[in-house]
Symmetry: D3
Subunit: 324 residues, 6 copies
């Protein structure tokens, strides 16, 4: 009876029969005065919402975030947003899946692979100040770096997403360095590794991610700058020495525009490149998800983080070229 | 022969005869191929520019920034900008003024008075974390704080301007606290004292002020945040504790808008008030200078730092009320 | 049984039992086709909304704006907005409160105190033209000036709010004049008194305030300018004389930016100061309310009139300094 | 010897030999320290600038604004701006033209024709309040209305330009009313006649036009609103009656956007139409001049008042259709 | 029983009894979990929405877009939007209206009249290249041009609206050419006829109009430019010849601003005029509908396509002047 | 005597002695009334300007764009812009360089290498419609594509720059396709090859490049779309078929924003990626030049095409990592 199909594999109007995790569960009052639960279901294929009408007190107690459930229903669209119309819902019992971790979306690389890639790159940071600062700060936030998401929502909002996004940028950076040889590779790599490390302080953790008070009042860009300055004392570095300033500038300017929260605009070639690669990776990841959830021949729902644009998924069948 | 009148006391078309300081001296080539020196004269009444035509090699050697000179000429306007048409120029000799410091604009309070005011206010910062951080950082940048200008140009661009601007804000803050009793006075005072302290790192010093590399790549807002975080370790404070975050937020948000270089917008009542008082003091100081240099019945030249607006100086004679 | 606690004194999930005024009552159709009444309750502590489900024809007739009611229910939050879940509602009977005026929010100064403050300030307007224009216009709109709110919603939206807001600005203006002696005090005071007087034409009155046709088609800024020009004839003043123009400019430019409805930007020092003090008082008043209604350790709901920002209420306990 | 050709009839590099008026004459210092006079020549074909080098004290005394001169030189372009290279310049003598009025650009309709057109239109303003207000205000500013320019520079900046621009809009308004019968013709006509009448207070007069203090501090839109309100008393009209408000709104909103100085945006169909017809006439008049001064096959210089756009003058020869 | 009154003739709270067409019918789930149908009714007076609660499976099958129905209910307002509260709904039977075309809004000119006007204008396009291109493209899209709406919604969103809007602009263009004789009439007329012809490719057709894929990915402005270039080959014209470029520019620039989808801004007098006439006609048509649906003395709902402004319908009674 | 050092190899204040090409030569009048020639010198290292004072008629005839000259002078800075102070200038004579082509900056790949790379990539465009359209359009504009610059100024403004910029993007595109496998590689490559091909119509040619009339009135984006549509007829393709629309959309949207001249915003993943890679390559190329011309430890002059930012050239010595 249990489905091997996953949540996002169902077409519109298809009958749904799956095990899934309750990612969130908000109790609300309907306009007729009765309670319902606004649920978000999750498995490794993604997440989708559904409403559980006329919820009893017991339902409210059972269906809370973090529980694994069995769901039967129908895949629908509500104003272009996909959702599940729930026919039957129950907690899983003996012999059925019960471990929430099985249903959590995670980075497509293992932690070991990611650690290896980062360590490999650190060898290429041949400037001693940058190398030491990167090692020091990574050591301090090691565990968070490899488990936190890169954002609360939008792009790379999954476990390990922060490290995975960092590595994607590093890969792009290697291609760019190979093509434009005047760029300062160690500076670009060091900046890429540290640019979002402040998210380990800005966000609450890998699950049910929210913003911390530090995140709301300071923001990840300045938070990691503060930690970098603080790391200078034990390393006997001057935070106002040119090489330290260059690395701080890489981090501080990586949002590109003041309006996007960078206190300075990029004033180094490498800072400008880092900003562009950050945007490139984030937008491709976001569009892969958005277009992947759109039917061929249709436009996606509006993508808030990309100015509300809608993206088209073509029907044209294209043989991919060999790219050995 | 020496004038007791100062540079800014002359009317248009009046003959000028003063001792003054050369604030800057740039050698340029005229369109006819000859050299001239673009000079800026300064005394305690303000500064004004003038061009020294057909400069010889010796002139170029003599008339450099920092020298005290005797100037004869005529006060003119060039496209609404005041300037001096130079008739005669020479270095001062024996028995004449020679000390540049005599001619430098400075804050209308003495350093001692300013130090007393600041010390007095620190007593009112009754929250221990904020009190200790303010003391620690002021101790570190003490000398610069009481001698640096508040800016390279525009408002409070004179020796001691940084402390004087800070004290003006503190005075306004005391009035506001007296009127709106819900405000957190210690937080507002601590934020006011530290808000521009980063300028001691951003700017090169009290004379011939330029931006440092740290100023250009990081900016004074984030520079002082870094120093504050760094100060936490010896004080055994957690930079992410709520009280520390509140003070950091006061500093970081004081430009009000992301476009103006604050990485976060004010999210505390006191942070919003600090931002507004900062603007109020800066704009009044700027307009006092601008309107003071305008003839009654005329509009000033455009004030770049206030959206290029021109301000009118009325001819209406108004008896000031008694405000005892 | 009647509560001495007021509407805004209850915490989330606490049982509510109060007398209150119905500020507004809109009959709507629920998505199930039945009628409900969207109510706003008010007392001197503030206002809060609630929905009365399955309203009968008699309920619709009884529960209308202006009636005093007895309310039992529970304090809740709906998407960060506070509201009351209604358990029981009835009109008050004999021996219970019945006078709506008891429940209306009003300025924290009495009318007499406010009149005295204004009269006192008029003595300080030592320039005769401004003095006469202020007296003439205040005489004409006297009653409205001391009873109207300063706005339909947002800041000072209570009875007497217009005069109270004006007086707050005057108090700030006195502090500023004391600190910056070059400012023209009579001009600043006269401008402050008249700046929002047009609201007595723009708004419909102290209760159930709406915009008049004149308010919608002309706006309070130009409305009072028109009345000022009209007052010149009986006072034998030329509306284009410099002193009259200065006062008109104070009023016309006080919104600061053309986008905010001022037909000219401030071109007088005093006009710029008036604009800034207006914003300062309005924002502090608004934030006092917003932060006052937020739990310690939480962010407020978005404040529409301040660019949708959310404000944090700290948990840090701060002893206020003595500021005698 | 005297030319019948006018200033704007010469091609680039052609020798110029004309009588003209000195519209303005500014004495400046060249970068070599010598004086020159920046002149603007004018006749009925338009205006063009030229520089008179190495000016003697006598030259400075002779060549002032308002003098008629004889000019020989060459038509040139300086960075796409047309100018005259001056070979010979002298004041005119006996038997030569001496009356400045002969050389002033003026409206292509005579004052009598314009007065007739306006009077005719007033008959069509069949609503009594609007009719009386229009008559009253026109009577007051009659002479200025028919002689002032519509602007200091840009469109209709010639003697009688204000009335001519008003009449052009009225002609367009008649066409629009004929095509869209739902429009309120009397309101549209009354609004059109009054919309720019405030320029008679904003500008200094028909010659050497500058902004008055009232123009700078209040602006023509609010100035005429004030006069309209003031006119209500003798006419026994209520300035807040609906019909008066409608006419005031027509004037106040005619710049269309707050950013362009209207304190309210158009909220009447007729107000929106008036705004659009105002822009249509102003832009066609401006482009007729700009394109008329451009060579076929070339782009004009940038038109500041139209967002800095450059306009192309085609070489294509097009037979105009008969449009009887 | 059948009403001669039409949908938009009813006042608020009046009982409605009409035949009408179902323009659209969306089945949705209410917050109580039951189905309802969101209907839009249409007849030649306009369109209005209503909700059909508790819809059965048979209702869902019957009440679909394109069916003629008999409707009884009440005219209401929901948050300033007009709607019908449905009491009784049924499909029409024998002897009752059944032809959807009877209920569709259409242009106020017949197709024959419109064809005649266009043909007449083509005679006035005396430049051969433009004449041939206009004839060729009109021939290709003849049928669509005279039956398509000018937009999916907003202005001229009715059958024949595209041709009618084009003709309105041509009429305005004739008035403007008569008043400003320097304009190139054939260029203006040719540009006006072609400016929106791309909508025949951008939109799906006269009924249930949606955007095509070509409309979404390319847009009507560039679509018709492509067809014009393509038409050059059979006509043996060079798409880069000056006369062809002028006509292409008229089309490409007619939205006026890059932000509105024009790839170039108007750089010809005639292009600027076409842009302004397009806006003038579209806005008057839109406001005629909006104000026509507003009660005297009230403001309309917000008009999205005009920056969300609300428009006032006066109560002032104005005798229209004779305009023979 | 002839220098092997090139123009851009000289430091400030160093004596210059080189052969170079006159890229442009504008005769102007100095403020003292004498003629001078504003020259731009060019060789393969870049370009630099200089002023030739007191030019005789013969100088004006000799020193025109396109002539090879011998130049002696001094390298200076004028307000942060590098320039040459000219000591001696003469045309080259027998036995000295005379061929302008020797001094023209050109792409760092030979035409043959570039042709091979493009041909290779066409094999990877495995979708037949795109393959045929790319071949057809490249065939038509073959010669221009490999010789034109990519712009009049700014990035890739050298001979062959258009093809070189296209190939740089293609190289980046290959890296991106290798990293993000969901992207449609043939669509991305076809779009990249055609995206700027319209510049062959927009620009006048490889030397003394100016905008054509077609470039000014239509722009390169729409020009190549027109040619693509026109190419459909001989290839028997429907310009509105989905696969053709996808390719047209790639071209039309590649400027990313409407404000930058794209008539539609990217609505395909590949279109968004193309836009970003275009910006990435253009900005790196521009910054390589700008930073290359800046002294270590200094900020560059403002880069107009990058929002006027200034870029810092560090002094930090960084060993590049091995990236085999």
């Amino acid at each position: 009876m249990a489905a091997t199909k996953q949540l996002m594999d169902y077409d519109v109007d298809e009958a749904v029969d799956v095990f899934a995790l309750l990612k969130s569960a908000d109790v609300r009052t309907a306009k007729n005065g009765k309670q319902y639960i606004a649920l978000v279901f999750e498995d490794q294929s993604g997440e989708i919402s559904g409403k559980y009408w006329d919820a009893s007190a017991e339902d409210v107690k059972n269906y809370v975030a973090g529980r694994v459930i069995h769901l039967q229903g129908k895949r629908e669209n509500y104003q272009t947003h996909p959702q599940i119309k729930i026919f039957h819902l129950r907690l899983t019992g003996p012999g059925e899946p019960a471990d929430p971790d099985q249903f959590i979306e995670r980075a497509p690389m293992s932690r070991t692979e990611m650690e290896e890639y980062i360590n490999q790159t650190i060898f290429e940071i041949t400037q001693p100040t940058w190398n030491r600062l990167v090692r020091k700060l990574l050591a301090e936030f090691q565990d968070q770096f490899f488990t936190f998401p890169a954002a609360k929502s939008n792009h790379h909002a999954f476990q390990g997403g922060l490290a995975f996004h960092t590595i994607s940028i590093l890969k792009l950076a290697h291609s760019v360095v190979a093509q434009y040889s005047d760029l300062n590779a160690p500076l670009l790599y060091a900046g890429a590794i540290l640019h979002d490390l402040g998210k380990t302080i800005e966000l609450s953790g890998p699950k049910s991610t929210t913003y911390t008070l530090a995140g709301n009042l300071i923001g990840h860009i300045v938070l990691i700058d503060g930690e970098l300055v603080r790391a200078c004392d034990p390393l006997k570095l001057d935070p106002q020495a040119e090489d330290v300033l260059l690395l701080r500038h890489m981090i501080l300017s990586h949002h590109g525009l003041l309006e996007y929260g960078s206190p300075v605009r990029p004033a180094l070639r490498e800072a400008d490149v880092l900003h562009q690669l950050d945007e490139l990776d984030a937008s491709i990841m976001m569009l892969d998800t958005v277009v992947g959830h759109t039917e061929p021949g249709e436009f996606s729902e509006r993508v808030f983080a990309m100015d509300g644009r809608r993206f088209y998924r073509p029907t044209t069948d294209t043989p991919q070229p060999k790219t050995d």
